[in-house]
Amino acid sequence: MVLIPSGYKAGKLYSVKPTDGTGDFTFSRATGYSSRTGPTGKIQEVADNTPRLQYPKCPAVLLEPSRENLFLNSDVGATQTITVVSGSDYAIYFLDGDGQIDLTGATTATVTKSDLDLSGAYLFTAGSTSLTCTVTGTANMVQLELGTYPTTYIKTEGSTVTRALENLLLTGIDTSGILTGATGTLFFKQVSLNNDAETKRISLSDGTSANRLVLAFNSDSTISSFMQIAGVTVASNPVVGFTYDAGQTINACVAWGGSDFKVSLNGELFAGSLTGTPIAFPNFNTLDPIGSRYYGEIDEMLIFPTALTDDELFELTNPEWTSYSQMAQALNYTLI
């Protein structure tokens, strides 16, 4: 199975392989306004249940948590007072205009225009239950949301609007021949939205927590993977000392077969052992059977029916940094 995000329609994300449709994903996002950055770099509305391919770089499938924009008539910002929950974390930004929003009440700050990547959003913990947003000049496409980081724009009018949860699901992996037995490899190239309190998981499973392979991007910045068969952990996480940051591209690969359970992360191999016989998992899901969801941008995903070799894992996940400076910049370091 080869997923390189490109073709889609409502409820569907097409894979490159297999070509008979058995590798195509089911996508869902129920109701509410949602948006993406389109190929031209403009914010575009995306219809319900339609995957969001995020640009302007090579398109990636964007999966975000459900969020509610509390700022009314958000396309054209105007002064308003909003009820918030004291002690909770919020993010506020606007994407258009050279004005500013002065915050008073629950927090005190001045917000200026944010970049499309939302890096200019202001994050705060509400100190009371009332937040006054005083708009000076032009401040359009405004969003105030409950959460520790900002998400894509949600247009509001006279009432708040919530973007629903999103899910990417592939079923019938076993019957379609994508996975045929007790061996396999899952490759997942992604960019995490954040690494805060949420643990983000993808899984291969039979829909139950008893039989599953989990790849987790944990809240403590670590990455882990494990496998359970018939409720027994047959492969424990072998990853040690690897951490990730928000915005960092991670090439993750998990290969299993025989007595081996290997995880390769950006070219670094972590070898573990497999003590049971896996099933040919029928489902891939961005919702783990125990309820943890994946949030992030999926650049590419591959499933192989065999366990790739160490050299193949290296070639597949190697970021190919040919200099120290290239590596440092990719990992969000400042070169000295």
Binding site: V240, G241, T243, N266, G267, E268, F270, F314, N318, P319, E320, W321, T322, S323, Y324, S325, Q326, M327, A328, L331, N332, Y333, T334, L335, I336
Partner: protein, 435 residues
Amino acid sequence: MDLLLTDGTGIKLYTDIDMATPTLILGNNDWATKDGKLLGYYQNKGYYFPREFTFSRTSEGTYIGRDGLIKTADAGIARVDFQNNPNGALLLEPARTNIGLWSEDISQWNLSFATVQDGFTDPFGGNKAFQVDFAPEVDGTWPSFIRQGVTTFADVVHTSALYCKYVDIQYLKFVLDGNSAPMVFDLTDGSVIENDTSGTWYVKSPEVTDMGNGWWKIVFYRNETAFGSNKPNMYFFVGNNALDTLNPNVGSVQVAFAQVEQGSYPTSYIKTEASTVNRGIDDIAYSSLQNGVLGTDSGTWFMHYQWLNQIGGATSAVHIRKSAWNNESFYLYNYENTVRIGSTTPVETLCFHTLTGDEVGKPVKVALSWDAGVYQKAYVNGVDRSAANIGDATAYAFTHLGLGNVSGLTANGLIWEMRFYPTALTDTELEQLTS
């Protein structure tokens, strides 16, 4: 490629050997930082892969950047210092507080028959120096001076530092207060022409560093023995040596970056204004040495470093350990010009080398190898300096690297480069690595 190496007795010709591949490299002109992290690396098939160190410091800290200017690193950001070193070195220091107020705004000092002008070129090429213009005193009792009162602490050594530059006054006088014995410094050649240690209250052991651009860094200490808990506060006093017949009583001098701190050696500059300012301790660690870095019972650790206070007194340490410090650890530290390597379980000295000649005050290269759980060799600056009983100590499956914690010592120094290998390097490799 051929490589010429001297062994102290003559010149030996080595054919450059095919060195083993390090599994962790930090530094050697490859430096990158972000909040709480410092980036080391290893190479595989020609590609670079990260080895991330954790780093902490609870406050800002200053360092000299690649451009030679004083920079300020935010809390949590490691400092790489380029003073006298184009490749940079990781700067690690203990916590210190500059108890001298208005460290670079001399206009806030007590000015006696003196005026100041700001915006002059400082020792590092910035514009933070002040020019002090001394005028003739009126009453004939005191020379002109600038002075900053400093609230000191009892029964501890204090270290003061100030940068000075000649304009047209040859001599400067330093005293601790109006009644203490003076130290007189010649701004034209950096010499201390008078250091009166009479009485119980005087400037002690002045050290002068030529900054190479007309500036002198003057470091001195306050004697500690006489006053006990009744020790008076001191002045940071810089006076025109007018009462000395050597000098006229008018003229100018430039000064910059004043610092007074507890401790027996100076540390990097800490800017103050109306309050004292503390710089937190630099702490670096790596906790995954068993993840592809060291072997389970073999390895080599290489350090190219310079402990800044290695001349006299207790100094710094760095260690690797299996679990908690003091339990199955290996440590490297300096004490009074010696390079010492030891193990804690059992307690063994693996190397005890006294730096001599050109080695003193310079960066040193040290490597220790171990195999099958037993220490093999300790090399210092290209020479086997292994202790006679080195093979007696046991090397463990080290997991952590950390600083300090050796008899309460902390790190104060510059790490130019650090490497780890998963195997014990050969004698030839150790010699080449540390030469």
